[in-house]
Subunit: 267 residues, 2 copies
């Protein structure tokens, strides 16, 4: 079995290491990529091919791990060339996932090839991190559980994995916004340490660590999170009729407003 990575950032590096430790052949190409990426690929010990076309054709499983912005273009240019299973791991929206699936089926995607919708839950460096997959051939990705990865099949429908990512985003971003509002008031009053301890009594033992980590990462990601809330609202817009939308998305709208106000502040 040969696994190919398009894009060689932290995700590909971390997964490659695990696969190589389990004696899986891993290939990539770094044509036109940054010096840093090239060095990362060399350090990992994967085989480096001269072109993405070759990479796509030679992979039994071709993993797209570039960025949400380039995911669709990568799928159109190289995913289409795949002779095995092509999986997108760019955490893209359900809508974009379906765009890829439609493009492939309308453009002579090899009938023996298949497309799988994949998302990563948790930091890739964490032992808890899990790749959740959906699509007809998602079971073929689940085989990687035997080779050091942590994969969970949730359904055979393209779009379900990316929908889970979107739904999870409603929850985690909303909780971050609530935590910000709560601890901003607590700090204003001078009771934030006492509040961390008081909430931890009924929340998880990990509450203080997790919440501080959420708030710290918000400071550097407020602009991105603000933009991602637009995707969340578009998604909710696609789920509900107009008459139900206002009440059924009020927390997400407030979350977007919270991130907007932070974006324009010194926080």
């Amino acid at each position: 079995m040969r696994i190919g990575f398009i894009g060689f950032g932290e995700v590909a590096y971390t997964l490659s290491k695990k696969l190589l430790q389990n004696n899986v052949e891993v290939i990539t190409s770094t044509k036109g990529r940054s010096k840093k990426t090239k060095q990362l690929a060399i350090d990992s010990g994967v085989k480096i091919l001269p072109s993405y076309e070759e990479l796509a054709k030679q992979s039994d499983i071709l993993i797209s791990a570039t960025s949400p912005k380039t995911a669709l273009a990568i799928a159109k240019k190289y995913g289409i060339l795949c002779n095995g299973v092509f999986i997108d791991l760019n955490n893209i929206s359900p809508e974009n996932t379906k765009k890829i699936a439609n493009f492939l089926s309308e453009n002579n995607f090899n009938p023996n090839s298949s497309f799988v919708d994949g998302i990563i839950i948790g930091k890739i460096s964490s032992t808890k991190s899990t790749i959740i997959v959906s699509g007809k051939s998602s079971d073929k990705i689940a085989i990687l559980n035997n080779y050091g990865l942590n994969v969970k099949v949730i359904s055979h429908d393209i779009g379900d994995a990316s929908t889970i990512k979107m739904l999870r985003s409603i929850y985690t971003k909303g909780v971050t916004a609530i935590a910000y509002e709560t601890f901003q008031a607590a700090e204003q009053i001078g009771l934030s340490n006492e509040l961390f301890e008081a909430i931890a009594i009924t929340e998880s033992e990990n509450f203080q660590f997790q919440t501080k980590s959420r708030l710290n990462s918000l400071a550097s990601s407020k602009s991105r999170k603000f933009q991602e809330m637009d995707e969340v609202l578009d998604f909710l817009n696609s789920v509900y009729d107009e008459d139900k939308l206002e009440f059924n998305s009020c927390m997400s709208k407030a979350t977007k407003n919270k991130f907007k106000s932070l974006k324009n502040s010194d926080f």
Copy 2:
């Protein structure tokens, strides 16, 4: 040491049992109370006095555990008679806590007596439940840690304990509203079980149990929670200047709207 309870519901019953097991003398009065309350007091084994006046005068620590609505009246009528430490455990707002403190100091409260601000975090029946106290004499309540109770002093300032309760309420009610919005969408799509599992990967192991318990209890408490959000918004109003209020309370306003929409629905 003699501990007196005004009000004998679940809180007084649970705390009494622990105190009695630790050989503390516990007294109450059930004058004019329901048959159920009278029976609960008899079952507990506490000593029952004929009047609240006697109860107040004979208690070294007098605990008001009635309801937020009656807390102020109880303090004015009986708390004022206390010759030891009078503690309010009715989960009232910081504003009402300060009203009690002001009333007592302006109405010849025994100079040797003192008032303590107390809140209960967690279900009283849970082993984790903690009584958080603040006020000059809160250390005198902390002695009860030696007699089976779980008490934590957070400061010597009246209002700090009830402020912690209010701040905690911003967080927990907000998270409940976010969880409702998220899982309503997930159910609409038919992916709620998968979503519970996916979020649990990075949240606590207890996530599914705790969230389902939050959503179940919301169904029966949506009207009360809606009203409590008014208290939260009044509180935030007292913390911030008008120009900052909108952004600094947007999640809490949305939480109120979410509960309002549920109140008017079949949920």
